[in-house]
Protein backbone atom coordinates (compact mmCIF):
# COMPACT_ATOMS: atom_id res chain seq x y z
CA UNK A 1 0.00 0.00 0.00
CA UNK A 2 1.52 3.29 -1.04
CA UNK A 3 1.50 6.39 1.09
CA UNK A 4 -0.92 7.96 -1.34
CA UNK A 5 -3.31 5.05 -1.09
CA UNK A 6 -3.03 5.18 2.65
CA UNK A 7 -3.80 8.89 2.59
CA UNK A 8 -6.85 8.33 0.41
CA UNK A 9 -8.20 5.58 2.57
CA UNK A 10 -7.59 7.59 5.75
CA UNK A 11 -9.41 10.51 4.19
CA UNK A 12 -12.22 8.22 3.15
CA UNK A 13 -12.30 6.78 6.63
CA UNK A 14 -12.49 10.22 8.23
CA UNK A 15 -15.19 11.27 5.79
CA UNK A 16 -17.17 8.19 6.66
CA UNK A 17 -16.94 8.73 10.41
CA UNK A 18 -20.12 10.83 10.75
CA UNK A 19 -22.04 8.24 8.79
CA UNK A 20 -20.68 5.48 11.03
CA UNK A 21 -21.75 7.44 14.12
CA UNK A 22 -25.16 8.01 12.59
CA UNK A 23 -25.41 4.39 11.68
CA UNK A 24 -24.74 3.37 15.26
CA UNK A 25 -27.68 5.47 16.34
CA UNK A 26 -30.05 4.36 13.63
CA UNK A 27 -31.15 1.05 15.10
CA UNK A 28 -32.42 2.95 18.13
CA UNK A 29 -34.92 5.02 16.27
CA UNK A 30 -35.34 5.53 12.56
CA UNK A 31 -34.56 2.08 11.32
CA UNK A 32 -36.40 0.17 13.98
CA UNK A 33 -39.44 2.37 13.72
CA UNK A 34 -39.60 2.50 10.00
CA UNK A 35 -43.20 1.41 9.87
CA UNK A 36 -46.03 3.75 10.77
CA UNK A 37 -45.86 7.15 12.41
CA UNK A 38 -43.19 8.00 14.95
CA UNK A 39 -44.09 9.14 18.42
CA UNK A 40 -40.83 10.28 19.94
CA UNK A 41 -40.46 10.12 23.68
CA UNK A 42 -37.81 9.92 26.35
CA UNK A 43 -37.42 7.75 29.39
CA UNK A 44 -35.26 9.04 32.22
CA UNK A 45 -34.07 6.40 34.63
CA UNK A 46 -33.33 8.61 37.62
CA UNK A 47 -31.58 5.72 39.36
CA UNK A 48 -28.86 5.81 36.72
CA UNK A 49 -28.35 9.57 36.63
CA UNK A 50 -25.14 10.61 38.36
CA UNK A 51 -25.81 14.35 38.09
CA UNK A 52 -22.73 15.00 35.99
CA UNK A 53 -24.49 17.60 33.83
CA UNK A 54 -22.92 16.17 30.66
CA UNK A 55 -26.40 16.38 29.13
CA UNK A 56 -26.66 20.03 30.14
CA UNK A 57 -23.34 20.87 28.53
CA UNK A 58 -23.85 18.84 25.37
CA UNK A 59 -27.27 20.44 24.87
CA UNK A 60 -25.72 23.89 25.16
CA UNK A 61 -23.00 22.99 22.68
CA UNK A 62 -25.32 21.29 20.22
CA UNK A 63 -27.99 23.96 20.25
CA UNK A 64 -25.90 27.10 20.86
CA UNK A 65 -27.92 27.88 23.97
CA UNK A 66 -26.96 31.35 25.27
CA UNK A 67 -25.07 31.84 28.51
CA UNK A 68 -27.21 31.37 31.63
CA UNK A 69 -30.00 29.69 29.68
CA UNK A 70 -30.74 25.99 29.70
CA UNK A 71 -32.89 23.71 27.58
CA UNK A 72 -32.14 20.88 29.97
CA UNK A 73 -30.54 20.74 33.39
CA UNK A 74 -30.12 18.17 36.11
CA UNK A 75 -31.76 19.64 39.19
CA UNK A 76 -29.80 18.54 42.21
CA UNK A 77 -31.14 18.33 45.75
CA UNK A 78 -29.63 17.56 49.14
CA UNK A 79 -32.14 15.49 51.07
CA UNK A 80 -31.98 14.94 54.79
CA UNK A 81 -34.48 12.57 56.31
CA UNK A 82 -35.11 10.70 59.52
CA UNK A 83 -35.65 6.99 59.02
CA UNK A 84 -36.19 4.78 62.07
CA UNK A 85 -34.46 7.27 64.32
CA UNK A 86 -31.47 7.64 62.05
CA UNK A 87 -30.61 10.69 60.01
CA UNK A 88 -29.93 9.90 56.39
CA UNK A 89 -28.39 12.42 54.06
CA UNK A 90 -28.28 11.97 50.31
CA UNK A 91 -28.38 13.65 46.96
CA UNK A 92 -31.28 13.43 44.56
CA UNK A 93 -30.84 14.35 40.94
CA UNK A 94 -33.61 14.98 38.45
CA UNK A 95 -32.95 15.69 34.77
CA UNK A 96 -35.47 18.24 33.47
CA UNK A 97 -36.36 19.20 29.93
CA UNK A 98 -39.37 20.01 27.78
CA UNK A 99 -41.89 17.22 28.28
CA UNK A 100 -43.19 17.39 24.68
CA UNK A 101 -46.67 16.98 26.10
CA UNK A 102 -49.49 15.38 24.14
CA UNK A 103 -51.64 18.21 25.51
CA UNK A 104 -49.08 21.03 25.52
CA UNK A 105 -50.36 24.18 27.28
CA UNK A 106 -47.78 26.25 25.38
CA UNK A 107 -49.41 25.61 21.99
CA UNK A 108 -52.95 27.05 22.35
CA UNK A 109 -51.76 30.25 24.02
CA UNK A 110 -49.34 31.20 21.24
CA UNK A 111 -51.04 34.19 19.58
CA UNK A 112 -49.45 33.55 16.18
CA UNK A 113 -49.33 29.75 16.06
CA UNK A 114 -45.53 29.78 16.14
CA UNK A 115 -45.28 26.91 18.60
CA UNK A 116 -46.77 23.63 17.49
CA UNK A 117 -46.58 19.89 17.86
CA UNK A 118 -45.16 17.99 14.94
CA UNK A 119 -46.78 14.79 13.71
CA UNK A 120 -44.01 12.84 15.42
CA UNK A 121 -44.88 14.39 18.80
CA UNK A 122 -42.01 16.88 19.08
CA UNK A 123 -43.11 20.34 20.22
CA UNK A 124 -41.16 23.02 18.36
CA UNK A 125 -41.09 26.78 17.84
CA UNK A 126 -41.13 28.38 14.41
CA UNK A 127 -38.55 31.07 14.94
CA UNK A 128 -39.61 33.00 11.86
CA UNK A 129 -43.11 33.43 13.21
CA UNK A 130 -42.44 33.74 16.95
CA UNK A 131 -42.99 37.29 18.23
CA UNK A 132 -41.22 36.77 21.55
CA UNK A 133 -44.32 37.57 23.61
CA UNK A 134 -43.36 34.86 26.14
CA UNK A 135 -46.95 33.72 26.61
CA UNK A 136 -45.77 30.13 26.06
CA UNK A 137 -43.06 30.66 28.67
CA UNK A 138 -45.78 31.55 31.17
CA UNK A 139 -48.03 28.65 30.14
CA UNK A 140 -45.44 25.87 30.44
CA UNK A 141 -45.99 24.13 33.81
CA UNK A 142 -42.46 22.73 33.77
CA UNK A 143 -40.49 25.99 33.45
CA UNK A 144 -39.00 24.40 30.35
CA UNK A 145 -39.20 27.49 28.12
CA UNK A 146 -37.32 30.75 28.16
CA UNK A 147 -36.68 33.78 26.01
CA UNK A 148 -33.41 33.35 24.13
CA UNK A 149 -31.41 36.56 24.63
CA UNK A 150 -29.68 36.16 21.27
CA UNK A 151 -32.89 35.87 19.25
CA UNK A 152 -35.36 37.42 21.71
CA UNK A 153 -37.70 34.59 20.86
CA UNK A 154 -39.04 31.57 22.70
CA UNK A 155 -36.57 28.72 23.11
CA UNK A 156 -36.83 25.21 24.47
CA UNK A 157 -35.69 21.61 24.10
CA UNK A 158 -36.63 20.19 20.71
CA UNK A 159 -35.49 16.62 21.43
CA UNK A 160 -32.72 17.79 19.06
CA UNK A 161 -35.23 17.48 16.21
CA UNK A 162 -32.52 18.33 13.68
CA UNK A 163 -30.54 15.32 14.84
CA UNK A 164 -33.55 13.03 15.14
CA UNK A 165 -34.60 13.93 11.59
CA UNK A 166 -31.11 12.89 10.49
CA UNK A 167 -31.41 9.59 12.30
CA UNK A 168 -29.31 10.62 15.29
CA UNK A 169 -30.03 10.66 18.98
CA UNK A 170 -30.56 13.87 20.92
CA UNK A 171 -27.26 15.27 22.18
CA UNK A 172 -28.21 14.75 25.84
CA UNK A 173 -28.93 11.07 25.21
CA UNK A 174 -25.74 10.60 23.25
CA UNK A 175 -23.62 12.00 26.06
CA UNK A 176 -25.43 10.61 29.09
CA UNK A 177 -22.69 8.95 31.12
CA UNK A 178 -24.94 6.72 33.18
CA UNK A 179 -27.24 5.75 30.32
CA UNK A 180 -30.08 7.35 32.22
CA UNK A 181 -31.75 8.89 29.17
CA UNK A 182 -33.38 6.57 26.67
CA UNK A 183 -34.86 8.11 23.55
CA UNK A 184 -37.06 6.33 21.07
CA UNK A 185 -40.35 5.75 19.36
CA UNK A 186 -43.35 4.90 21.51
CA UNK A 187 -44.97 3.34 18.45
CA UNK A 188 -42.14 0.88 18.00
CA UNK A 189 -42.98 -2.17 20.16
CA UNK A 190 -39.50 -3.62 19.65
CA UNK A 191 -37.60 -0.42 20.30
CA UNK A 192 -35.54 0.00 23.46
CA UNK A 193 -37.76 2.75 24.83
CA UNK A 194 -40.92 0.68 24.57
CA UNK A 195 -39.19 -2.41 25.91
CA UNK A 196 -37.78 -0.52 28.90
CA UNK A 197 -41.12 1.08 29.66
CA UNK A 198 -42.98 -2.21 29.42
CA UNK A 199 -40.39 -4.02 31.51
CA UNK A 200 -40.59 -1.37 34.24
CA UNK A 201 -44.37 -1.58 34.28
CA UNK A 202 -44.27 -5.34 34.53
CA UNK A 203 -41.99 -5.12 37.55
CA UNK A 204 -44.00 -2.43 39.30
CA UNK A 205 -47.24 -1.02 37.84
CA UNK A 206 -46.48 2.50 39.11
CA UNK A 207 -42.79 2.43 38.27
CA UNK A 208 -43.15 4.80 35.33
CA UNK A 209 -44.12 8.32 36.31
CA UNK A 210 -44.38 11.75 34.72
CA UNK A 211 -43.95 15.21 36.22
CA UNK A 212 -47.10 17.00 37.39
CA UNK A 213 -49.54 14.33 36.18
CA UNK A 214 -52.41 16.33 37.67
CA UNK A 215 -51.87 19.11 35.16
CA UNK A 216 -53.32 16.96 32.38
CA UNK A 217 -50.50 17.67 29.98
CA UNK A 218 -49.71 14.01 29.21
CA UNK A 219 -45.93 14.35 28.97
CA UNK A 220 -43.77 12.26 26.67
CA UNK A 221 -40.87 12.35 29.08
CA UNK A 222 -41.23 9.45 31.47
CA UNK A 223 -39.30 8.75 34.64
CA UNK A 224 -38.31 5.60 36.46
CA UNK A 225 -37.27 6.13 40.07
CA UNK A 226 -39.06 9.44 40.36
CA UNK A 227 -39.58 10.28 44.02
CA UNK A 228 -43.11 11.72 44.48
CA UNK A 229 -41.60 14.57 46.52
CA UNK A 230 -40.03 15.83 43.31
CA UNK A 231 -42.91 15.14 40.97
CA UNK A 232 -44.40 18.61 41.27
CA UNK A 233 -43.13 21.85 42.73
CA UNK A 234 -40.47 20.87 45.24
CA UNK A 235 -41.13 21.80 48.85
CA UNK A 236 -37.78 22.85 50.16
CA UNK A 237 -35.14 25.52 50.43
CA UNK A 238 -34.45 27.52 47.30
CA UNK A 239 -31.49 26.81 45.07
CA UNK A 240 -28.04 27.43 46.47
CA UNK A 241 -26.52 27.80 43.01
CA UNK A 242 -27.86 30.11 40.36
CA UNK A 243 -26.27 30.32 36.93
CA UNK A 244 -26.86 34.07 36.79
CA UNK A 245 -24.84 34.58 39.95
CA UNK A 246 -21.80 32.75 38.71
CA UNK A 247 -21.79 32.74 34.95
CA UNK A 248 -21.78 35.24 32.16
Amino acid sequence: MSDDTLFQSRRAFLRALPAITAGAALPLNSASAAEGKHHWAMLVDVRKCIGCQACTVSCIMENAVPVNSFRTIVSTYAVTQEVDGHTQVGTYVLPRLCNHCDNPPCVPVCPVGATFKRDDGIVVVDGDRCVGCAYCVQACPYDARFINHDTNKADKCTFCAHRVDAGLLPACVETCVGGARIFGDLNDPKGELRRRLDAAKRTEPNAVKVLKPESGTHPNVFYIGLDPRFQGRVEGQAALWRPSEHGG
Binding site: A78, V112, V131, V137, Q138, D143, G236, Q237, P243, S244
Partner: protein, 362 residues
Protein backbone atom coordinates in the same frame (compact mmCIF):
# COMPACT_ATOMS: atom_id res chain seq x y z
CA UNK B 1 -40.33 10.49 58.69
CA UNK B 2 -39.24 14.13 58.55
CA UNK B 3 -37.57 15.38 55.44
CA UNK B 4 -35.68 18.51 54.60
CA UNK B 5 -34.80 19.29 51.00
CA UNK B 6 -32.26 21.85 49.88
CA UNK B 7 -32.05 22.65 46.20
CA UNK B 8 -28.36 22.65 45.36
CA UNK B 9 -28.37 23.15 41.60
CA UNK B 10 -31.22 24.40 39.47
CA UNK B 11 -32.00 27.00 36.87
CA UNK B 12 -33.81 30.20 37.86
CA UNK B 13 -36.05 31.22 35.02
CA UNK B 14 -35.93 34.92 34.36
CA UNK B 15 -38.91 37.21 34.40
CA UNK B 16 -40.11 37.10 30.79
CA UNK B 17 -43.07 39.45 31.03
CA UNK B 18 -41.05 42.55 31.74
CA UNK B 19 -42.02 45.84 33.40
CA UNK B 20 -43.32 46.82 29.94
CA UNK B 21 -46.18 44.38 30.54
CA UNK B 22 -46.93 46.00 33.89
CA UNK B 23 -47.03 49.40 32.20
CA UNK B 24 -49.31 48.12 29.45
CA UNK B 25 -51.83 46.50 31.78
CA UNK B 26 -51.74 49.56 34.03
CA UNK B 27 -52.25 52.09 31.25
CA UNK B 28 -54.86 50.19 29.25
CA UNK B 29 -56.77 49.58 32.48
CA UNK B 30 -56.66 53.28 33.33
CA UNK B 31 -57.79 54.13 29.80
CA UNK B 32 -60.79 51.80 30.01
CA UNK B 33 -61.66 53.11 33.48
CA UNK B 34 -61.36 56.73 32.34
CA UNK B 35 -63.51 56.02 29.29
CA UNK B 36 -66.28 54.75 31.57
CA UNK B 37 -66.02 58.02 33.53
CA UNK B 38 -66.50 60.05 30.33
CA UNK B 39 -69.89 58.55 29.64
CA UNK B 40 -72.00 60.26 32.37
CA UNK B 41 -71.46 63.64 30.70
CA UNK B 42 -70.74 62.96 27.04
CA UNK B 43 -73.19 60.10 26.46
CA UNK B 44 -75.73 60.64 29.24
CA UNK B 45 -75.47 64.43 29.60
CA UNK B 46 -75.36 64.53 33.38
CA UNK B 47 -74.27 68.17 33.94
CA UNK B 48 -72.67 67.47 37.32
CA UNK B 49 -70.21 65.17 35.58
CA UNK B 50 -68.94 67.59 32.93
CA UNK B 51 -65.65 68.51 34.63
CA UNK B 52 -64.86 64.93 35.62
CA UNK B 53 -65.82 63.52 32.23
CA UNK B 54 -63.70 66.03 30.32
CA UNK B 55 -60.66 65.21 32.45
CA UNK B 56 -61.44 61.51 32.11
CA UNK B 57 -61.48 61.87 28.32
CA UNK B 58 -57.96 63.26 28.46
CA UNK B 59 -56.92 60.39 30.70
CA UNK B 60 -58.53 57.78 28.43
CA UNK B 61 -56.76 59.19 25.39
CA UNK B 62 -53.32 59.69 26.96
CA UNK B 63 -53.31 56.24 28.56
CA UNK B 64 -54.91 54.58 25.54
CA UNK B 65 -52.32 56.01 23.14
CA UNK B 66 -49.35 55.16 25.38
CA UNK B 67 -50.36 51.63 26.41
CA UNK B 68 -49.82 49.88 23.04
CA UNK B 69 -46.31 51.36 22.82
CA UNK B 70 -45.40 49.54 26.03
CA UNK B 71 -46.93 46.38 24.62
CA UNK B 72 -44.92 46.64 21.41
CA UNK B 73 -41.75 47.25 23.39
CA UNK B 74 -42.31 43.96 25.25
CA UNK B 75 -42.00 42.13 21.90
CA UNK B 76 -38.33 43.26 21.71
CA UNK B 77 -38.84 44.10 18.04
CA UNK B 78 -41.96 46.21 17.43
CA UNK B 79 -42.32 45.11 13.79
CA UNK B 80 -43.21 41.65 15.04
CA UNK B 81 -46.73 42.88 15.77
CA UNK B 82 -47.56 42.26 12.11
CA UNK B 83 -47.52 38.52 12.78
CA UNK B 84 -50.50 39.02 15.10
CA UNK B 85 -52.52 39.93 12.00
CA UNK B 86 -50.80 37.68 9.45
CA UNK B 87 -50.99 34.49 11.53
CA UNK B 88 -53.62 34.91 14.25
CA UNK B 89 -54.30 31.90 16.45
CA UNK B 90 -57.81 32.54 17.70
CA UNK B 91 -57.46 29.95 20.41
CA UNK B 92 -55.28 32.44 22.25
CA UNK B 93 -56.66 35.36 24.26
CA UNK B 94 -53.58 37.35 23.34
CA UNK B 95 -54.41 36.97 19.65
CA UNK B 96 -57.88 38.39 20.26
CA UNK B 97 -56.27 41.29 22.10
CA UNK B 98 -54.60 42.36 18.87
CA UNK B 99 -58.07 42.97 17.47
CA UNK B 100 -59.76 44.28 20.62
CA UNK B 101 -57.17 47.02 21.19
CA UNK B 102 -57.73 48.70 17.79
CA UNK B 103 -61.49 48.25 18.19
CA UNK B 104 -61.39 50.06 21.52
CA UNK B 105 -58.94 52.76 20.44
CA UNK B 106 -60.77 53.25 17.13
CA UNK B 107 -64.07 53.58 18.98
CA UNK B 108 -62.47 55.97 21.48
CA UNK B 109 -61.02 58.09 18.68
CA UNK B 110 -64.37 58.27 16.90
CA UNK B 111 -66.16 59.07 20.15
CA UNK B 112 -63.65 61.83 20.94
CA UNK B 113 -63.90 63.30 17.47
CA UNK B 114 -67.70 63.40 17.55
CA UNK B 115 -67.57 65.03 20.99
CA UNK B 116 -65.04 67.66 19.98
CA UNK B 117 -66.38 68.56 16.53
CA UNK B 118 -68.45 71.57 17.69
CA UNK B 119 -65.56 72.88 19.79
CA UNK B 120 -63.10 72.33 16.94
CA UNK B 121 -65.37 74.48 14.75
CA UNK B 122 -65.48 77.18 17.40
CA UNK B 123 -61.68 77.13 17.52
CA UNK B 124 -61.60 77.40 13.74
CA UNK B 125 -64.07 80.27 13.78
CA UNK B 126 -61.94 82.08 16.35
CA UNK B 127 -59.23 82.27 13.70
CA UNK B 128 -55.49 81.93 14.16
CA UNK B 129 -52.71 80.02 12.49
CA UNK B 130 -54.33 76.63 12.93
CA UNK B 131 -57.85 77.66 12.02
CA UNK B 132 -57.71 75.76 8.73
CA UNK B 133 -56.59 72.59 10.40
CA UNK B 134 -59.28 72.85 13.06
CA UNK B 135 -61.91 73.54 10.37
CA UNK B 136 -60.83 70.45 8.44
CA UNK B 137 -61.01 68.27 11.55
CA UNK B 138 -64.31 69.83 12.63
CA UNK B 139 -65.78 68.67 9.32
CA UNK B 140 -68.83 70.89 9.67
CA UNK B 141 -68.79 70.95 13.45
CA UNK B 142 -72.11 69.19 13.93
CA UNK B 143 -73.09 68.19 17.43
CA UNK B 144 -74.96 64.91 17.33
CA UNK B 145 -75.73 63.23 20.63
CA UNK B 146 -77.09 60.24 18.73
CA UNK B 147 -73.83 59.76 16.84
CA UNK B 148 -71.83 60.22 20.06
CA UNK B 149 -73.95 57.57 21.73
CA UNK B 150 -73.41 55.15 18.85
CA UNK B 151 -69.65 55.75 19.06
CA UNK B 152 -69.87 55.35 22.84
CA UNK B 153 -71.47 51.93 22.38
CA UNK B 154 -68.68 50.99 19.96
CA UNK B 155 -65.97 52.18 22.34
CA UNK B 156 -67.77 50.58 25.28
CA UNK B 157 -67.82 47.27 23.43
CA UNK B 158 -64.10 47.62 22.75
CA UNK B 159 -63.44 48.64 26.37
CA UNK B 160 -65.40 45.67 27.70
CA UNK B 161 -63.52 43.30 25.39
CA UNK B 162 -60.16 44.81 26.39
CA UNK B 163 -61.06 44.44 30.07
CA UNK B 164 -62.18 40.87 29.40
CA UNK B 165 -59.15 39.79 27.39
CA UNK B 166 -56.56 41.37 29.67
CA UNK B 167 -58.08 39.53 32.61
CA UNK B 168 -58.64 36.22 30.83
CA UNK B 169 -55.21 36.24 29.20
CA UNK B 170 -53.61 36.05 32.62
CA UNK B 171 -56.29 33.97 34.32
CA UNK B 172 -56.00 31.05 31.89
CA UNK B 173 -52.34 30.44 32.72
CA UNK B 174 -52.90 27.30 34.79
CA UNK B 175 -49.15 26.87 35.20
CA UNK B 176 -49.14 29.86 37.55
CA UNK B 177 -51.64 29.16 40.35
CA UNK B 178 -51.40 32.77 41.53
CA UNK B 179 -52.77 33.94 38.18
CA UNK B 180 -55.15 31.04 37.66
CA UNK B 181 -57.97 32.38 39.83
CA UNK B 182 -61.43 33.43 38.58
CA UNK B 183 -61.28 36.57 40.72
CA UNK B 184 -58.19 37.97 38.99
CA UNK B 185 -60.04 39.63 36.05
CA UNK B 186 -62.44 41.18 38.56
CA UNK B 187 -59.54 42.50 40.62
CA UNK B 188 -57.87 43.91 37.50
CA UNK B 189 -61.08 45.70 36.52
CA UNK B 190 -61.94 47.17 39.93
CA UNK B 191 -58.44 48.45 40.54
CA UNK B 192 -58.38 49.90 37.01
CA UNK B 193 -61.57 51.87 37.65
CA UNK B 194 -60.24 52.99 41.04
CA UNK B 195 -56.98 54.06 39.39
CA UNK B 196 -58.92 55.95 36.72
CA UNK B 197 -60.84 57.87 39.38
CA UNK B 198 -57.52 58.57 41.04
CA UNK B 199 -56.11 59.85 37.75
CA UNK B 200 -59.08 62.18 37.25
CA UNK B 201 -58.56 63.56 40.76
CA UNK B 202 -54.87 64.12 40.03
CA UNK B 203 -55.60 65.74 36.65
CA UNK B 204 -58.23 67.91 38.34
CA UNK B 205 -55.57 69.30 40.65
CA UNK B 206 -52.92 69.58 37.92
CA UNK B 207 -54.86 71.04 35.00
CA UNK B 208 -58.49 71.33 36.13
CA UNK B 209 -60.13 73.84 38.43
CA UNK B 210 -60.16 71.49 41.42
CA UNK B 211 -63.93 71.04 41.38
CA UNK B 212 -64.27 67.87 39.30
CA UNK B 213 -65.26 65.82 42.32
CA UNK B 214 -68.15 68.09 43.22
CA UNK B 215 -71.51 66.80 42.14
CA UNK B 216 -69.95 63.93 40.24
CA UNK B 217 -69.75 61.83 43.37
CA UNK B 218 -66.23 60.85 42.34
CA UNK B 219 -65.14 60.31 45.93
CA UNK B 220 -68.20 58.23 46.68
CA UNK B 221 -67.43 56.15 43.62
CA UNK B 222 -63.80 55.83 44.70
CA UNK B 223 -64.93 54.67 48.13
CA UNK B 224 -67.20 52.09 46.50
CA UNK B 225 -64.30 50.71 44.46
CA UNK B 226 -62.18 50.39 47.59
CA UNK B 227 -64.96 48.54 49.41
CA UNK B 228 -65.14 46.20 46.41
CA UNK B 229 -61.35 45.79 46.38
CA UNK B 230 -61.42 44.81 50.05
CA UNK B 231 -64.46 42.55 49.60
CA UNK B 232 -62.99 40.71 46.62
CA UNK B 233 -59.64 40.44 48.42
CA UNK B 234 -61.38 39.00 51.47
CA UNK B 235 -63.33 36.57 49.27
CA UNK B 236 -60.05 35.50 47.60
CA UNK B 237 -58.47 34.87 50.98
CA UNK B 238 -61.53 33.09 52.36
CA UNK B 239 -61.82 30.80 49.34
CA UNK B 240 -58.16 29.94 49.72
CA UNK B 241 -58.07 29.46 53.49
CA UNK B 242 -61.22 27.33 53.64
CA UNK B 243 -60.29 25.36 50.55
CA UNK B 244 -63.75 25.99 49.08
CA UNK B 245 -62.02 26.80 45.80
CA UNK B 246 -59.04 24.57 44.98
CA UNK B 247 -57.64 27.15 42.56
CA UNK B 248 -57.62 29.83 45.25
CA UNK B 249 -56.22 27.37 47.78
CA UNK B 250 -53.37 26.59 45.36
CA UNK B 251 -52.74 30.28 44.80
CA UNK B 252 -52.69 31.00 48.52
CA UNK B 253 -50.40 28.05 49.20
CA UNK B 254 -47.84 29.50 46.79
CA UNK B 255 -47.55 32.86 48.51
CA UNK B 256 -48.60 32.26 52.12
CA UNK B 257 -45.20 31.08 53.40
CA UNK B 258 -43.41 34.16 52.07
CA UNK B 259 -42.99 37.12 54.40
CA UNK B 260 -42.55 39.39 51.37
CA UNK B 261 -45.96 38.32 50.07
CA UNK B 262 -47.50 38.76 53.52
CA UNK B 263 -46.20 42.32 53.67
CA UNK B 264 -47.50 42.94 50.15
CA UNK B 265 -50.97 41.75 51.12
CA UNK B 266 -51.02 43.96 54.22
CA UNK B 267 -49.74 46.86 52.12
CA UNK B 268 -52.49 46.39 49.51
CA UNK B 269 -55.25 46.07 52.10
CA UNK B 270 -53.86 49.04 54.06
CA UNK B 271 -53.71 51.19 50.93
CA UNK B 272 -57.32 50.37 50.10
CA UNK B 273 -58.42 51.22 53.66
CA UNK B 274 -56.51 54.52 53.67
CA UNK B 275 -58.00 55.44 50.28
CA UNK B 276 -61.46 54.57 51.59
CA UNK B 277 -60.93 56.60 54.75
CA UNK B 278 -59.69 59.64 52.85
CA UNK B 279 -62.49 59.44 50.29
CA UNK B 280 -65.19 59.19 52.94
CA UNK B 281 -63.87 61.32 55.78
CA UNK B 282 -61.45 63.79 54.23
CA UNK B 283 -62.69 65.01 50.82
CA UNK B 284 -60.16 67.85 50.97
CA UNK B 285 -57.42 65.20 50.76
CA UNK B 286 -58.79 63.87 47.50
CA UNK B 287 -55.46 64.38 45.72
CA UNK B 288 -53.81 62.02 48.21
CA UNK B 289 -56.68 59.56 47.80
CA UNK B 290 -56.27 59.72 44.03
CA UNK B 291 -52.51 59.19 44.19
CA UNK B 292 -52.86 56.22 46.51
CA UNK B 293 -55.54 54.69 44.25
CA UNK B 294 -53.21 55.09 41.27
CA UNK B 295 -50.34 53.57 43.22
CA UNK B 296 -52.54 50.62 44.26
CA UNK B 297 -53.54 49.93 40.65
CA UNK B 298 -49.90 49.90 39.56
CA UNK B 299 -48.67 47.92 42.57
CA UNK B 300 -51.34 45.29 42.05
CA UNK B 301 -50.14 44.68 38.50
CA UNK B 302 -46.47 44.79 39.45
CA UNK B 303 -47.04 42.28 42.24
CA UNK B 304 -49.09 39.93 40.07
CA UNK B 305 -46.77 40.00 37.07
CA UNK B 306 -43.26 40.42 38.43
CA UNK B 307 -43.93 38.79 41.80
CA UNK B 308 -45.89 35.99 40.14
CA UNK B 309 -42.97 35.15 37.88
CA UNK B 310 -40.69 34.89 40.91
CA UNK B 311 -42.53 31.74 41.99
CA UNK B 312 -40.85 28.66 40.47
CA UNK B 313 -43.13 26.19 38.77
CA UNK B 314 -41.02 23.18 39.64
CA UNK B 315 -38.12 24.41 41.77
CA UNK B 316 -38.07 25.00 45.50
CA UNK B 317 -38.73 28.26 47.36
CA UNK B 318 -38.74 31.52 45.44
CA UNK B 319 -36.38 32.87 42.83
CA UNK B 320 -35.87 36.24 44.55
CA UNK B 321 -33.62 37.01 41.64
CA UNK B 322 -35.36 39.96 40.14
CA UNK B 323 -33.55 43.24 40.43
CA UNK B 324 -35.05 46.04 38.39
CA UNK B 325 -32.54 46.68 35.59
CA UNK B 326 -31.77 50.31 34.89
CA UNK B 327 -31.98 49.81 31.11
CA UNK B 328 -34.85 49.59 28.66
CA UNK B 329 -36.13 46.32 30.09
CA UNK B 330 -36.48 47.92 33.50
CA UNK B 331 -36.34 51.42 34.93
CA UNK B 332 -35.80 53.12 31.58
CA UNK B 333 -38.87 51.34 30.24
CA UNK B 334 -41.00 52.51 33.15
CA UNK B 335 -39.70 56.08 33.01
CA UNK B 336 -39.91 56.11 29.22
CA UNK B 337 -43.54 55.05 29.28
CA UNK B 338 -44.30 57.66 31.94
CA UNK B 339 -42.46 60.29 29.88
CA UNK B 340 -44.37 59.34 26.76
CA UNK B 341 -47.62 59.55 28.71
CA UNK B 342 -46.77 63.06 29.90
CA UNK B 343 -45.75 64.11 26.38
CA UNK B 344 -48.98 62.75 24.88
CA UNK B 345 -50.98 64.48 27.61
CA UNK B 346 -49.25 67.81 26.95
CA UNK B 347 -49.90 67.49 23.22
CA UNK B 348 -53.55 66.63 23.81
CA UNK B 349 -54.03 69.54 26.18
CA UNK B 350 -52.28 71.85 23.76
CA UNK B 351 -54.16 70.95 20.61
CA UNK B 352 -57.57 69.69 21.71
CA UNK B 353 -60.42 71.86 22.99
CA UNK B 354 -60.76 69.37 25.83
CA UNK B 355 -62.32 71.84 28.25
CA UNK B 356 -65.13 72.70 25.82
CA UNK B 357 -66.66 76.17 25.72
CA UNK B 358 -64.65 77.48 28.64
CA UNK B 359 -61.37 76.77 26.91
CA UNK B 360 -62.57 78.30 23.64
CA UNK B 361 -63.80 81.46 25.35
CA UNK B 362 -60.55 81.75 27.24
Amino acid sequence: MSTSIVEVVNVAREVSWLPWAVQYFFLIGLSVGCFLLTMPWFALRRPAWERASRLALLGALACGLTAPVALLADLHQPGRFLNFYLHPNFGSWMAWGAFFIPLYLGGLALYTWLILRPDLKRLADAGGRWAGVYRAFAYGGHDSLGAIRIAAVLALTGAALVALYTGMEVMVVHARPLWDTPLLPVQFFITAVAGAIGLVLVLDRAIGDGHAAQGAHLLRLLAATQILVLAVGAAWLLLGVTGLSPTHANALAQVAPSSAWQITAVWAAGSAMVTLWLAVRHPAWRLAAGLIALHSAWMMRWTVFIGGQEIPKTGAGYYHDYHLPLGQDGMLGILGTAGLWIAVLIILISVLPWAGQRRVQA
